[in-house]
């Protein structure tokens, strides 16, 4: 299976900020948080274009989101907007500081053709222990 290894960081975007102020259940919030940005050459390696589904996996979890290409990222880097989709793959170890590693963890990204991006309600079900 085609997959690449990346260094994954998460962060705020203005769309995510504006989306959460419409509401976490809004379409704006879904669109602004359920994607991962990749360098264009990495996306090409995976054969995925803007908006196509990819699976992001770390030892802590896995999630399907859409891909976006970014000019600002070096090959081997990926960016996830803050939110519940990103938090499927970040771990809880805080190294005794209270702060999880939200930036700079290793992850794999692979094409996920045919797989659906979970909705917010489905992510909440996952937290409840469903699948």
């Amino acid at each position: 299976m085609l997959k690449i290894e990346v260094t994954l960081i998460s962060g705020r975007t203005s769309q995510q900020g504006a989306g959460l102020e419409v509401g976490k259940t809004s379409e704006e919030y879904f669109r602004s948080t359920s994607y991962v940005e990749l360098n264009a050459s990495d996306a090409e390696k995976l054969g995925v274009g803007d908006g196509q589904p990819v699976g992001v996996t770390t030892p802590h979890g896995s999630v399907v989101v859409s891909a976006r290409t970014s000019q600002g990222l070096d090959p081997g880097m990926a960016f996830f907007p803050y939110g519940p989709w990103a938090n499927q793959v970040f771990g809880t170890d805080t190294g005794g500081t209270g702060m999880p590693s939200y930036k700079g963890i290793r992850a794999t990204v692979e094409p996920a053709a045919g797989k659906a991006i979970p909705t917010l309600t489905e992510l909440v079900e996952r937290l409840r222990g469903g699948t």
Binding site: R12, A18, K24, D74, T92, G96, M99, P100
Partner: protein
């Protein structure tokens, strides 16, 4: 009827822009001027996706019933967690601390997942502080390190740092040299005069080598953390030659490897620079009143976050009494969440605990946390539907305005917390 409110303070990010103009027509917000995209979204959409009614176990109940259920959960829990607070006003934060003390719980705020590591470092090594007004009037060298105001603090560079014309910076942007340090080329990197693309996880090394270069040490390696020796030497020289410089640092330093040690290194660089010129640093605080959450919690307990009242007196230990740790270890057996959404913002393995324990949430909108909560109490939006005080990222307190009546006659965070406190007191006296 139309009313125009001027000098309205924006309750979104730590910039607390205080020049907004909000037009209210027939009790509804009709327009907002001077606001950034996020602020506009907050004011214009404040009525969207609101929690419709007070609920217990998903069933609509009145305030009194919900308060009773909330008080019972908190009063009978062995290790209740009170969390959030950074997007509400200071009186509510004070009430939350009082309630945590009353139930012998832990009170923590969102700084545990944003600038908590900054606080840890500054408690060790101190800080050179200033106000954003001083920056506007004097700073001729501005460094954004691991921070991206073009996405997170949209008017920062326009109002406070890179762009404004000040007393000793009469030409605004032309009077200043702006540097961005980041692991990726953000919009901020493109508008800066100089961009240093640091390798991920190597900020600490770059801060240390810059400090050494400022001190006059010869940099021997050709490059450090992806930055050439020449660029390091040139930047060190430029920093020493500035009349007043400042580092605005963000979560690029606190959420990556090294965490508080990165901030320790940044303070070390600033300390070194103060042998040559005036140099300062300021954390780019995210939630509009996270600085207030730290301030109020400190003046009431002595500590800024991660405060445990289990023994009846406050104890402080980030890493142990911080929310992600308490939830991930399964320690918290009940939670009160105020103005925050840990169900969405915490790593899933910590958020999962919220699905297993009784949770009481005070918020405006439907969120993953309210979906997981046993008791949900809708509250007024501070700074839109309720007044109060908030602290800007530089520690300056500003007064939030109430521009419209609360949605559906609901109460403020402070009022609801006071009701819960009274009910918990009654339960404790009755037992």
């Amino acid at each position: 009827m139309m009313t125009v409110y001027t000098d309205v303070v924006c309750p979104f990010c730590g910039c607390l822009c205080d020049d907004l103009e909000v037009t209210v027509e027939d009790g509804e917000i009709a327009g907002v001027k001077n606001a950034c995209a996020v602020s506009r979204s907050k004011f214009m959409n404040h009525g969207e996706n609101r929690i419709e009614t007070t609920t217990v176990d998903g069933k609509a109940v009145d305030y009194e019933e919900a308060v009773k259920a909330a008080a019972k959960i908190l009063a009978t829990a062995r290790r209740p967690l009170v969390y959030g607070l950074s997007s509400t006003e200071c009186v509510a934060i004070g009430k939350a601390v009082e309630l945590a003390e009353l139930v012998g719980g832990v009170v923590d705020n969102t700084s545990s997942v944003c600038h908590g590591p900054t606080i840890l470092a500054l408690q060790q090594v101190g800080e050179s502080k200033t106000t954003l007004g001083e920056v506007k009037n004097r700073a001729d060298l501005i460094v954004f390190w691991g921070s991206n105001p073009t996405e997170a603090h949209l008017r920062h560079i326009i109002r406070y740092s890179a762009m404004p014309k000040g007393m000793y910076t009469p030409e605004g942007r032309k009077s200043r040299y702006v540097v961005a340090v980041d692991v990726r080329e953000t919009r901020m990197a493109r508008v800066a005069d100089e961009f240093l693309k640091v390798e991920p996880g190597k900020d600490f090394e770059l801060l240390l080598v810059l400090r050494a270069a400022v001190r006059g040490a010869e940099v021997q390696a050709d490059q450090v953390a992806g930055i050439s020796k020449e660029q390091i030497k040139a930047l060190a020289g430029r920093m020493k030659a500035a009349k007043m410089g400042i580092i605005f640092f963000g979560l690029g330093l606190t959420q990556s490897d090294g965490r508080h040690m990165n901030i320790d290194a940044a303070v070390g660089l600033v300390t070194e620079l103060n042998h040559h010129t005036k140099f300062l640093l300021t954390p780019m605080r995210g939630h509009y009143n996270v600085a207030g959450a730290n301030t109020v919690t400190t003046w009431q307990t002595g500590y800024p976050y991660a405060v445990d009242f289990a023994r009846g007196y406050p104890r402080y230990n980030p890493g142990e009494y911080t929310s992600v740790d308490l939830l991930a270890k399964g320690e918290a057996d009940a939670a009160l969440i105020i103005a925050s959404d840990p169900g969405a913002t915490f790593p899933a393995d910590a958020a999962k605990r919220l699905a297993k324990i009784p949770v009481v949430t005070l918020d405006q909108k439907v969120t993953p946390t309210t979906m997981l909560s046993k008791v949900v109490i809708p509250v007024a939006t501070a700074g839109v539907e309720a007044e109060g005080t908030a602290y800007r990222m530089d520690g300056v307190p500003l007064r939030l305005k109430k521009v419209v009546e609360p949605h559906g006659g609901i109460r403020s965070d402070a009022e609801v917390l006071e009701m819960i406190i009274e009910r918990v007191r009654a339960l404790k006296e009755g037992s």
